[in-house]
Every structure is written in C-alpha cells, then in structure tokens.
C-alpha cells in the first residue's frame, strides 16, 4: 500500500479535522495512548485491526453501561413472555388441553426463557451499535488513505480538531517523540460521498411499497364484504365425493349407493329379539318393557336423559331445553319445537313407540341409536314414564304420611 498521505488533492482543500499518527504494533500503541491520555486530551481515540488487550486502562476508557441495557432488555423479555402466556391462555382465550393448568409454570418456562434470551440479544446487538454510533458511513478520519490499513495491520491514534487542547503543531511534535510510523493531518472531506443519494430514495420507495399489503390486510380486517372469502386452492370446493341419489361415473352400474354385498347383512337385520331391539311385539309397538324395571335402571335413565334428551326437551321433559329456548329467541322459521314429553299424547304412547323414536328419530329429531346403547334407550323410556308420573302427579300420589311435608 502506498504511504503517500497527500494523494487526494480535494482532501487538501477541505478543513482539517484532526491529526492521525500510525504506530508500529499494539505495544507501541498502548505506550502512546498512555501519554495522550496523560496530556489531558478528551476527543481522541485509538484505532486497531483487532481489540488490543489492555488498551482500555491505557486510554482510561470506563466500563460500558451495555450490560445494564442487556439486563433491562432481558427482564423486559421475561415480563412480556409471562404476561403474554398468562393473558392469552389464562384469561383471554382459556381452553383446557390434556388437563394442564391454564397457566402453570412448567409448561410456560420454555417460552419465558426464549424471549428473555431473544430480547437480551437484541439489547446486546442494537445496544452496542447505538452506543458506538453505528451505522455511520462517513467519518472525517476515513478521508486519510493511510487509515485504510486500520482493518489490516495499522495501529493509529487520532486526535480530533474539536478537542479543547487541540494545537496542531504541539500534537505533531508530541507524536513524533513517540516514534510513530507516520503523522499526518486528516481532513473533513465531502460527507455526501459516503452513500449515494439514490440509495435512500430507493429505500424509502421500497418501504412505502411494503406498507401497501399491510394496509390492504388491515382494511379487510376492519370492513365487511359480501363476496366470499378468497382462497388459494379450490380443490375443497370441488371434492370428488359421491352424493346420495346421484349418478356415478365410477361404478359400472351407475349407482352411487352401493347394493348390499352378497353374503353380508346390516346390523338391524341380525335381530333375534324384536321386543328388545325394535320395541315391537308381533309387529306392533310393545306396551311392556323387555326387562325388569329397577331403581338402578331409572338412575341410569336419568343420567342418559340429562345428557342426550334434556338439551332440547328440558330436564323436566316439557320441551323447554336450552336449545329450544335459544331457537325460539332467534325466531328460526324452520324450527320445530321439541315435543312436550309429559303431554297426555305421549303418556298414552306405548313404550315401544317412544323407544323407536329414540332409536330412529322422529320428524326433526335425529336418531340416537348410534349413540345410546339398547339398554340405555329402555332406561330412558322408563325415566320418561317416571317424569310423566311426577310432572302430572296429584297430591293423591304422595303417601298420606308425607303429605304434610309438602305444605
């Protein structure tokens, strides 16, 4: 590298920004730094291609506050993670997963840890850059050609002209006593040259363009539209499923619904006890239960009734369950209100018919056969009978001895 310091004619005319001295290695640099420090300069610095061990005390650099910034950022991360998990899973949208507490430390520690680290790292990275006043693409010292060695093998001390003790001649002679490789003044050349203007313009335009999709997303989040949601792949709209009673191009007989495979039978067909399974005796609705009634059976019936029937029919069977109430509030035109099970009409119904309603459904009521076991269906029938007795009961139904308690 050429050591000609005054190669730049334009730099010569620019105002002097300070004095730069180059030293031969880290040891010489440290020795010189001690002297400059003791001479009382304040706006000066050492420059080296790598951190020189022991330069900080030689220069009198005080420990940085960076660790405190990082600690603060770390604690912020911890707080954010804790608050985020507590608020989202514990308060705003609580839901139970595999019996875990909504907010229980063991399962929330990983994210607390990760966010603490993440924000601490941001603190370290951005903190160091900001404290170092970076990025800053132009510094007057860069105008020295010799200074390019600083990232290779050059060790420099630069004193800025703004230093209160600045006196060009004195400093130069001070430097010369230390046996430097060179001493030179550096100039404040045109700072505009650091980055082309177009760079900023392109940056701003790109930034603004980047805002457009965000703005569009924000707009659609806060307005309504009558057109259906836009989605990428329409394969879910056109699924190759066979719909009932349609023709099929797949099967040779053109039928979608498949005939029974030879040698098989449906579950209902294997019926050796129509009283129990169908609620029919000799083709007519059974009027008797196929099994002996018991208290346990009634208890079971109550349990199943409250689970499967009560949502519509109500716990008392009068057809005023939560679903029915909600439907009538909404005023749905197509809603058929559930039957009042303690109505005389149903009281007169044979048990087999009630059983069949449970098994196969009736009108709008879906079939519950697949969900409720045979014995439980009969238990529900028995419980409905009990409900009818209790709801339509009179004082006479109460044993004489207990009548007094009702009053």
């Amino acid at each position: 590298m050429q050591a000609s310091a005054n190669a730049d004619p334009k730099g010569e005319s620019a105002p002097v920004a300070g004095i730069l001295a180059e030293f031969d290695g880290p040891g010489a640099l440290k020795k010189a730094a001690v002297q400059i420090r003791d001479a009382g300069f304040t706006r000066w610095d050492c420059y080296s291609p790598f951190p020189v061990h022991g330069i900080d005390p030689a220069m009198g650099v005080r420990p940085t506050i960076l660790p405190w910034i990082i600690l603060g950022m770390g604690l912020t991360g911890l707080t954010i993670a804790t608050a985020l998990q507590w608020w989202t899973n514990g308060v705003d949208y609580p839901f139970l997963i595999s019996g875990k507490p909504l907010f229980g430390l063991p399962a929330n520690i990983p994210i607390m840890f990760e966010l603490t680290i993440l924000l601490s790292a941001f603190g370290a990275f951005f903190g160091a850059l900001i404290l170092n006043d970076l990025p800053k693409f132009y510094r007057p010292i860069f105008s020295s050609k010799r200074f390019k060695k600083v990232t290779d093998n050059g060790f420099f001390i630069g004193i800025e002209a703004s230093d209160p003790h600045y006196d060009s001649k004195k400093i130069q002679s001070l430097f010369r006593q230390m046996g430097p490789l060179s001493v030179e003044e550096f100039h404040d050349t045109d700072p505009q040259g650091a980055l082309p203007k177009a760079f900023f313009r392109v940056g701003i335009i790109l930034f603004l363009l980047g805002l457009i999709p965000l703005a569009l997303a924000l707009k659609s989040r806060h307005s309504t539209s009558s057109s259906p949601r836009w989605h990428f792949w329409r394969d879910m709209d056109f699924q190759p499923v066979a719909k009932a009673q349609r023709a099929s191009a797949f099967f040779p007989d053109g039928r979608v619904i498949r005939p029974q495979v030879e040698g098989t039978f449906a579950r209902e067909q294997a019926d050796d006890n129509p009283h129990l399974n169908q609620g029919r005796v000799n083709g007519k609705f059974a009027t008797t239960f196929p099994m002996k009634l018991s208290m346990e059976m009634l208890e079971r019936g109550k349990d199943r009734f409250d689970t499967y029937c009560a949502p519509c029919h109500g716990k008392d069977g009068r057809g005023q369950g939560l679903v029915a109430k909600r439907a009538s509030t909404l005023g749905e035109g197509t809603w058929v209100p559930p039957s009042n099970l303690v109505d005389p009409r149903i009281e007169k119904m044979p048990v087999g018919e009630i059983y069949q309603a449970i098994r196969y459904g009736v009108r709008n009521m879906p079939k519950y056969g697949p969900q409720i076991k045979v014995e439980d269906r009969w238990a529900i029938v028995a419980y409905i009978r009990a409900l009818q007795r209790s709801q339509n009961g009179t004082i006479k139904d109460v044993p004489e001895a207990d009548r007094g308690k009702l009053k």
């Binding site: 061990h53 595999s98 019996g99 875990k100 063991p106 399962a107 520690i109």
Partner: protein, 415 residues
C-alpha cells in the same frame, strides 16, 4: 513480562504443616462422636429408629461421595482439555478425591444392611418385600444384594484406581518435575472419564434412585453429576479461602483463579437447573402414574416446601447472586455463595433420600420430620470426610509445584 514466575510457588506456604494433624484430630473426633451419638439415637429408637439412622446416613454418604466425585471430574476434565489455568489449584481436587478409600469404608454400613436383607433402607433388599412386589420382582436381576455388592466393589475399585493414579502421579511430579507424567495423565484422562461417567451413573441409580425401587428416570445420573460438580466447586472454593486465611497458597492462587472457580460454580448452578427442570417437566407433563409418584410425594405437603426452597435457593437466588463479575471476584461474597450452594446441595440430597423413609418408596410417605439424628449423621460423615482429606493432604504440597503449566496458570487473567 511482568508475570510471576513459577518460583513464587516454591516459596509459597504450601504445606498443611501442623494444621493437618489439628484438622485430623478435631474433625475426626467430631465425626466419630456425632455418628456414635446418632447410632445410639437410632438403636434406642428415640430418634426414629435404625431405619431413620440408615436413611440419614445414606443422605450424608451421598453428600460426601458427591463432593469426592465432583473433585474427580475436575481433575479428569482439566487433564482431558489440557487446561492450564487451574494448575495451581488442581492439587486441592486431587486431595479431595484421594479420600476414596475412606469413603469405601464409610460405605460398609449401607452395604451390610443390604447384605443382611434389611428392608428398612432398600426395600428391594428384603426378600419378603421383593417377592410380593411385582415391579421389584421384575427388576430383581439388577436389584439384588449380590449384584449390588459386586457393583459397588467395581465402583470403588475404579474410583480408587483413578484417584490413586492422578494424585500419585501429580505428587511424584512434585519431586521429579517430569512433564512425561502430565502427558501420561492426559492420555489416560479420556478413558478415565468414560469409566467415571458410567460408575457415577450407576452409583447414583443404586444409592439414590433404587431407594424408591418403582421409580425410574434416565436422566438421574446426569442430575447427580450436576449436583456433584456444584458440591465440589463450592467445597473447593471454601477450602481455598480457608487455606488462604491461614496464610497458605497466598502467592499461588490469585483472584483470577477464584473468578474461574466461581464461573464454574455459576455455570453448574445453571446446568443443574436445566437438568432438574428437564427431569421434572417431562414427568409432570407426561403425567403417567409410573413416574409421577416419586415427584408427587416430593412436591406436595411439607416436602413441597422443600422443593420450592430448591427452586429458589438452589437456582434462582444463587443464579442472580453469582451472575455479576464482582460477586465472583470478591472472596467474601464468593465464599458466601459457595457455603450457600454446599448447604443447598445437601438439602437437595436430603429431599431425594428422606421422603423414602417409612413409605418404602411408594404409598404415602410422611412429610418432613426433621430430626437431630439427620444432622448428626450428615455432619458426622462430613467431618470424617474433611478429616480424611486432611489425612491425605497432611504431607504433600498443596500445590503441584513442578506442574509444567504452572507459569501459564500464574499468568492468566480473565478478560
């Protein structure tokens, strides 16, 4: 260069001298008295009976064993990594692990209880219990008195051989100054650390995990290892501080060494928390009955209080306390935290061992019933351990004077 030359170590006060017999007398006497007192309380039944005494003894034994094993790790890993910084302090670790023969003797009461088929400590050792318990029956190939004895003979053989080789070699180097000895020790360190890892793991399974024979955790060996390193780092810092207070090793051991010891202590406080959390969280999350029982007794009721103490005082508080550079470079605060961690490690062991007493490791275990007996056994064993270390170190130099990396150790600075 302005760094002290290895000569300063030669001129340092580096022998226990009259201090050795003094420690031996006081600590040895105290240990024997306390253990006899504890045994009397155990036999008479006023302190919870023989079973209680044996449990407290096992806790104390696990505690001192972990210190010695931590020392062994320190020696081996520093040889393995060709470390130079620790050269002036490694002898302390060598002496600490030199106590292995004493530990082997101290292990005899536990071994005898197993060989006698006594179920009050290890329920699987009792043939009566083992034959009725299906799970123990399934593990009988491993958990039986004969194999247990064989294993412990192997463990102690390995440990005594390693400690004899490394302490002996290092002491021989004090005279000859032969760097070849260091080379040989480095060469063997890899194989030694392998044996060390396996023996430590299975010893921790045998001594601590099998106290609750139904329970199992594959990380348990690592957990015991983390605790061991903490125990030894804390113990070593305290020993070095006390020796310096008595005017020993003043020139050989600098604040830079303490700083590094503190860093290792700090790192393993974190490592222990990581391992403890991994073990706890996975069992808590999986929530299957085979595993949760062990933790259930230990995190509910009064043992739950101890578990909380461990979370905060074994991790959170010392972690915050040891984080700063100043805390590690100030001997008062460093020795405070070393003392703190040594006690916490002891509580950790206590929390692992004692809930098994009375419950045979399953069923309802009683809550914390702290008894004089526990303290007598644990402190008694610790005193004997200190006496053992003083016995080993009574004649040899407290620093390896001809260690080839001494200059490097004296010169190093923490950036």
């Amino acid at each position: 260069m302005n760094h002290p030359s290895p000569e300063v170590v030669l001129n340092d006060d580096r022998h226990l001298g009259p201090l050795g017999p003094k420690i031996l007398r006081i600590a040895g006497g105290l240990g024997i008295v306390l253990l006899i007192l504890g045994l009397v309380l155990g036999i008479t039944g006023s302190g919870g009976g023989m079973s209680r005494f044996l449990f407290a003894y096992t806790a104390g034994f696990a505690f001192i064993l972990s210190i010695a094993l931590g020392a062994m790790f320190f020696v081996l890993v520093n040889h393995l990594t060709r470390a130079g910084w620790c050269a002036t302090t490694r002898r302390i670790a060598e002496i600490t692990m030199g106590t292995m023969p004493f530990l082997a003797i101290l292990f005899l009461p536990i071994l005898i209880s197993v060989l006698m088929g006594y179920g009050g400590l290890f329920s699987w050792a009792d043939h009566e219990i083992a034959s009725k318990d299906h799970l123990i029956h399934l593990k009988a190939g491993y958990l039986n008195p004969v194999f247990f004895t064989i294993r412990w003979v192997i463990y102690f053989a390995v440990w005594m051989q390693i400690s004899r080789y490394y302490l002996g070699g290092s002491v021989r180097q004090d005279d000859s100054g032969d760097p070849e000895i260091t080379s040989r020790m480095q060469k063997w360190s890899a194989a030694s650390i392998l044996l060390f890892a396996l023996t430590l793991t299975f010893a921790s399974f045998d001594l601590l995990m099998s106290l609750a024979p139904h329970w199992f955790s594959s990380i348990f060996g690592v957990y015991f290892f983390a605790g061991s390193v903490i125990a030894f780092q804390a113990f070593g810092i305290l020993v070095l501080v006390l020796l310096q207070r008595k005017g020993k090793l003043k020139k050989s051991v600098s604040i830079e060494h303490f700083h590094d010891w503190g860093k290792l202590l700090f790192a393993f406080v974190f490592f222990w928390a990581y391992i403890a959390y991994s073990q706890f969280m996975l069992i808590w999350y999986g929530n299957i009955p085979e595993e949760t029982g062990w933790f259930h007794t230990r995190i509910t009721g009064s043992w739950g209080g101890v578990a909380l103490i461990l979370v905060f005082a074994h991790f959170v508080i010392p972690f915050a306390g040891l984080m700063s550079r100043h805390a590690k470079r100030n001997l008062a605060s460093l020795s405070f935290w070393a003392m703190w961690m040594l006690i916490m490690h002891c509580i950790d062991i206590y929390w692992i061992v004692m809930p098994n007493q009375g419950g045979h490791g399953h069923g309802e275990a009683p809550g914390v019933h702290f008894q004089a007996l526990d303290i007598l056994a644990i402190v008694g064993l610790f005193s004997l351990f200190v006496a053992g270390a003083a016995y080993i170190g009574r004649h040899c130099s407290l620093v390896a004077v001809k260690e080839p990396r001494l200059a490097e150790s004296l010169a190093f600075e923490n950036a």
